[in-house]
Structures are given as structure tokens and as C-alpha cells.
């Protein structure tokens, strides 16, 4: 593989700034890699001409002496649920085929402001609903570590892209684990920021109160850099948080002494494959030896987070996806003769099975007569869980869990939707509670597949998580 592709994001930006590489060179290398490894099916849309045009513009800028930008000249991929000019935004759904957004997501504008080259739109589970990237209308994504296995989801394309060295970083979204789980399945780093840390404007909503955009990259330092580039208050996103942010890149620790990690007793009570359990225990030993204090904490209802999640996320999704009605954009069933037909036929033809399931579940739990028992109950349970997390964080700086109970599973191996949902058991509680979490590689498991370790932090404590992860990455053998 070309030498350029083995570099990290941090190294490539450094290299472009000091003239070792040009953005055009780097972008060209990525393009070639994408063509070479197109079987992974990581990208829904590309426009290489436009990518090279962007790279050229940056090279010209550099020639004038302007080397500003955290991501100067680096090709980055964004998930196909983030609005971009030029490239379509389809959320891997037939209902949005050919949709070209007339505006750009805030995070995409930020990437470009930092000098990134937007390389392509990553494949994903349809409307971000899924944990295996098997529900995409553009076909499944293959895990570059082992092509008979899933890359994870819903940001499967983003994770696989990074893993296959097709780009130097990617943006994903995480509603129930959709950044962290594919990161762990593909052996890359993925960070879900605190809810409100990064703007959601221009990101097609799945569950508005749970969705967050986050970085995925080859290592922790890269992840921090990409995180710094996209985070910030956005006045056009009323849920984004307006507080002082200090950059996280490069702020790494010499020692972990003084930090405390919590072991959630209820997590260890969950079924976990042996290879995953071993990797977790090894990681815990490493941190102990590095001076981290471990405390036992209890989050009694952490295992019910998944039930809260399916009620809340489906309800919001059912409402958010109602706008896909064949009237203003997207697919309109050609045979529709009445408005009613336009709605029903376009949506029935345009949505895949998993999306229909979630919409039905969502409308059920919101419907008259069921609202109190399901939706209202779920919001109250969410409050209970938040209080339990708050109590746990009084005693520690981070919680440690595996990202997933298994390594990447083979295609088609989940028998029922529920079985698929239950594989999110460690990631979902984080979205319900709203805090940040990172997944990073911590060894190999069954079939030599990567295992991901998850660290969960208190609100806006991404810095701590990045530091703990980076230390492990640097020092653990």
C-alpha cells in the first residue's frame, strides 16, 4: 500500500503544512485506494473530480502562504446522512434517491473551513437504523478486517473507510452506538460526544434527543483533532450547548495517577463472549498497573436502557421520518394518482423493512391510549437512569465496558430484529444518559477480529476519555 496511506491524519496534515506532501497527492492516493478496494462498498457517492478540485484549491492557498486549518488538505469522508452540496444525501434509502441538499450541514462547513477535502459520502444503515450496515439500499458494507463479517452500524461505511485507508478520518453519527460499535468491529477509534457538543444542523434526524455527530479515525490523536474541528455551539441548533470549549488535540498525559475508573457491576452480570471478557480484563489490569484507581459502582437499571431506547428513538424517528412523503423531495411513486397514494406508495416503496418497523413501533408507543404506558414511562425511566449515572460519576472519572458483547458477526447471523437490538446493550445506555463515550481497539478476539474497549465519561468530559484512550494506545502491549 502506498506510503502516504499508512500515515495518520495528524501526520498527513503536518506533512501538507510543511510541504512534504500536497493535498492533491494525498487525495489522489485515497482515490486510488478507493478504486482498489471498492468491493468493501464503503461509499454511496463520490465525485473524484470535485475532490481533486477541492485539493487543488487548498494547494493554491498553501502556495500563497496560507497554511491555516486543523485538517489542512486531508481527505475526510462524511456519513451519507449529512447534507453536502455537490454530493447527494440519501441516508442509504430509496426514498431519498437523487436528493441533493440545497444547504450544507454545519459540521461539513466546519470541516471545509479547517481545510479538509470532502472525499465522499459513506454508506450506512438506512436512516441510521441498524447495527450491521445490512439495511442499506446501496448494498451491505464489508468489514475490511474480514469480508464475511459485518463492519457494524449504522456508521459502517465510515468505519470501514478509515479501516481500509481510503481516507484519513470520517464523520459518523451515534444514536445508540452507531459510531462506537462499527469502530470496535473495524478496529478503529470512534468518539460519541456529549449530546449538544456538536451541531446537528444539516444532519438528517433519526432520534433528535439522542443523535450526535462524532469523529472516527485511525488513532486517538487523530480522533481528537477531528473532534476539535467539528465541535462548537451553533445558534441554528437550539439543542447545541453554548459553553467554553478548549482544544483536546495534543493534550496527552504522562501519568494516569489520580484518575479513577468505575466498574459497573450490572455490566459484568451481562452475557459477554469469552474473548471480549478477556480483553476487558487485560485492559483493566493495564490501567491498574498504570496507577488508575478502580471503584465499584452500580447503575441498577443500565440493562433496561435498551428498552427506553427503543421506545424513545422509535417515537422520535416515526415523527422525523414523516416528512418523507413524496411531496417536496425524494421519491414520488410514479403510479400515484392521489395525494393519499403519493404518501402511502412512496413511503412503502421507498423505506426498507427495518425503517418501517421502527416507524410502526414509534407510532404505536405514541398513539392514543398507549402514550402514558410507553412513551411517558420511558421518559421517566430515562430520568431515573440519568440520576443513577450522576451518582456513579460522583465516585469516578470514567466507566469502562466492552463496546460490544461480541466481535463483528457474520452477515445474516442475527435471527430476529430483537437479537440485533440486544447487541447494542453497552452502547445504548450512553445515549440515554447523554454523556460522551469513546471506543478504541484493545486486542483481537475470535477469528482474529478486533475488540473495542469503551470508556464512558461525564457530561463534556471528552478530554478525559481521549487522554485515557491515548495513554492505552501508546503504552499497552
Amino acid at each position: 500500500m502506498e506510503e502516504i496511506l499508512t500515515k495518520s491524519l495528524t501526520e498527513i496534515v503536518e506533512g501538507i503544512k510543511n510541504g512534504t506532501y500536497t493535498s492533491t497527492q494525498v487525495t489522489q492516493a485515497c482515490i486510488q485506494q478507493i478504486e482498489k478496494t471498492k468491493e468493501y462498498n464503503t461509499l454511496n457517492h463520490t465525485n473524484f473530480e470535485d475532490a481533486l478540485r477541492q485539493a487543488n484549491e487548498i494547494d493554491e492557498r498553501i502556495a500563497q502562504g496560507n497554511t491555516n486549518g486543523l485538517l489542512l488538505g486531508a481527505p475526510i469522508v462524511v456519513k451519507d446522512n449529512m447534507c453536502t452540496y455537490v454530493l447527494p444525501t440519501t441516508c442509504s434509502s430509496k426514498i431519498l434517491e437523487n436528493f441533493v441538499a440545497p444547504y450544507e450541514a454545519t459540521v461539513v462547513s466546519k470541516l471545509r473551513a479547517e481545510g479538509a477535502v470532502i472525499l465522499g459520502k459513506a454508506n450506512m444503515d438506512e436512516f441510521a437504523m441498524g447495527s450491521s450496515n445490512e439495511t442499506s439500499a446501496y448494498g451491505k458494507v464489508l468489514n475490511p478486517c474480514n469480508t464475511s463479517r459485518v463492519p457494524g452500524g449504522s456508521s459502517g461505511g465510515s468505519a470501514a473507510c478509515v479501516c481500509a485507508h481510503q481516507c484519513f478520518g470520517a464523520l459518523g453519527t451515534d444514536t445508540g452506538g452507531s459510531i462506537r460499535q462499527p469502530a470496535s468491529f473495524c478496529g478503529v477509534v470512534g468518539l460519541k460526544p456529549t449530546y449538544g457538543e456538536v451541531s446537528r444542523r444539516g444532519v438528517v434526524a433519526f432520534a433528535s434527543s439522542l443523535d450526535q455527530v462524532g469523529p472516527m479515525a485511525k488513532n486517538v490523536a487523530d480522533t481528537a483533532l477531528l473532534f476539535d474541528a467539528i465541535r462548537g455551539y451553533d445558534a441554528k441548533d437550539s439543542t447545541s450547548s453554548n459553553h467554553k470549549r478548549t482544544p483536546t488535540a495534543g493534550k496527552f498525559l504522562k501519568t494516569l495517577k489520580g484518575l479513577r475508573i468505575g466498574l459497573v457491576k450490572e455490566i459484568f452480570e451481562q452475557p459477554m463472549n469469552d474473548d471480549v471478557r478477556q480483553a476487558l480484563e487485560k485492559a483493566i489490569s493495564f490501567y491498574k498497573l498504570s496507577g488508575v484507581e478502580f471503584v465499584d459502582v452500580s447503575i441498577p437499571n443500565i440493562a433496561q436502557a435498551i428498552d427506553m431506547y427503543y421506545i424513545l428513538s422509535s417515537a422520535e424517528a416515526a415523527s422525523n421520518l414523516a416528512r418523507f412523503d413524496g411531496i417536496k423531495y425524494g421519491r414520488r411513486a410514479p403510479e400515484a394518482k392521489t395525494v393519499e397514494d403519493i404518501y402511502t406508495l412512496s413511503r412503502s416503496q421507498g423505506f426498507g423493512d427495518e425503517v418501517k418497523r421502527r416507524i410502526m413501533l414509534g407510532n404505536y408507543v405514541l398513539s392514543s391510549g398507549y402514550f402514558d404506558a410507553y412513551y411517558k414511562k420511558a421518559t421517566l425511566c430515562q430520568e431515573v437512569l440519568k440520576q443513577q449515572f450522576a451518582k456513579a460519576f460522583e465516585m469516578c472519572d470514567a466507566l469502562i465496558t466492552p463496546t460490544s458483547p461480541t466481535v463483528a458477526f457474520p452477515f445474516g447471523s442475527k435471527a430476529t430484529p430483537l437479537e440485533m437490538y440486544l447487541s447494542d446493550i453497552y452502547t445504548v445506555p450512553v445515549n440515554i444518559f447523554g454523556g460522551p463515550a469513546i471506543s478504541f481497539p484493545c486486542g483481537k478476539g475470535e477469528n482474529n477480529m478486533p475488540i473495542g474497549l469503551q470508556l464512558i465519561g461525564n457530561y463534556f468530559e471528552e478530554q478525559t476519555l481521549l487522554q485515557l484512550a491515548e495513554f492505552y494506545e501508546r503504552e499497552a502491549k
Binding site: 437523487n98 436528493f99 441533493v100 440545497p102 444547504y103 445558534a235 437550539s238 453554548n242 437499571n301 440493562a303 433496561q304 428498552d307 427506553m308 427503543y310 421506545i311 416515526a318 414523516a322 412523503d325 413524496g326 411531496i327 417536496k328 423531495y329 425524494g330 421519491r331 414520488r332 400515484a336 394518482k337 392521489t338 395525494v339 403519493i342 404518501y343 402511502t344 406508495l345 413511503r347 412503502s348 423505506f351 423493512d353 418501517k356 418497523r357 416507524i359 410502526m360 413501533l361 407510532n363 404505536y364 398513539s367 410507553y374 414511562k377 420511558a378 421518559t379 421517566l380 425511566c381 430520568e383 431515573v384 430476529t416 430484529p417 430483537l418 437490538y421
Partner: protein, 93 residues
């Protein structure tokens, strides 16, 4: 145990503007029942004394006009348009 009946499936499909084949209806009923059965676990969490304490309030936007999107952009993905408007079959009020 069937939490969701066949009629429920039809009613919710109508609310969702989805048309399901009989096979799809059956599969939907099955998966909904499976998930809703699992969700019953929430009944065991006591919440009668729980109040959603609100700690964060939002901010308001100043009433100052911002540039609108050009009509062309608004319509650029329209399946059918006419005279600057989105066109649909006759709507009966």
C-alpha cells in the same frame, strides 16, 4: 402473548402511511410483539416519584430577517413543480 393485534397493525400502518402486504403484516406483528414484550421490563422501574427536573433552558432568536433560499433551490428536488410551486394531484378538502 399477543400485545399487538392484527387490527392494531393495520391501524398503525394507516397512521404511518404505510401499505403492508399480508406477509409483511404478519412479520410486523411478530416483531412488534417481540420487542414490546421485552420492553415490559420498564414496568419494574418505579417512577411514581420521578419528576423530569429541567436544568437547561433554551435561548431565543432575535427577530431579524435572514436571507431566504432562492426559489430555485427550494424546488431543486421537487418531484413535480409548476409556476414556482410544488404540484400535487387535486386535494379535496
Amino acid at each position: 402473548m399477543n400485545i399487538v393485534s392484527k387490527e392494531d397493525v393495520l391501524h398503525i400502518a394507516k397512521l404511518s402511511k404505510l401499505q403492508l402486504t399480508p406477509t409483511e403484516q404478519e412479520a410486523m406483528q411478530q416483531s412488534l410483539n417481540e420487542v414490546l414484550t421485552h420492553i415490559q421490563a420498564l414496568e419494574n422501574i418505579p417512577t411514581h416519584n420521578t419528576e423530569c427536573k429541567n436544568k437547561t433552558f433554551g435561548t431565543l432568536r432575535a427577530d431579524v430577517v435572514e436571507n431566504s433560499m432562492p426559489q430555485q433551490s427550494i424546488l431543486q428536488n421537487a418531484p413535480k413543480q409548476e409556476g414556482g410551486a410544488f404540484a400535487v394531484p387535486k386535494v379535496v378538502e
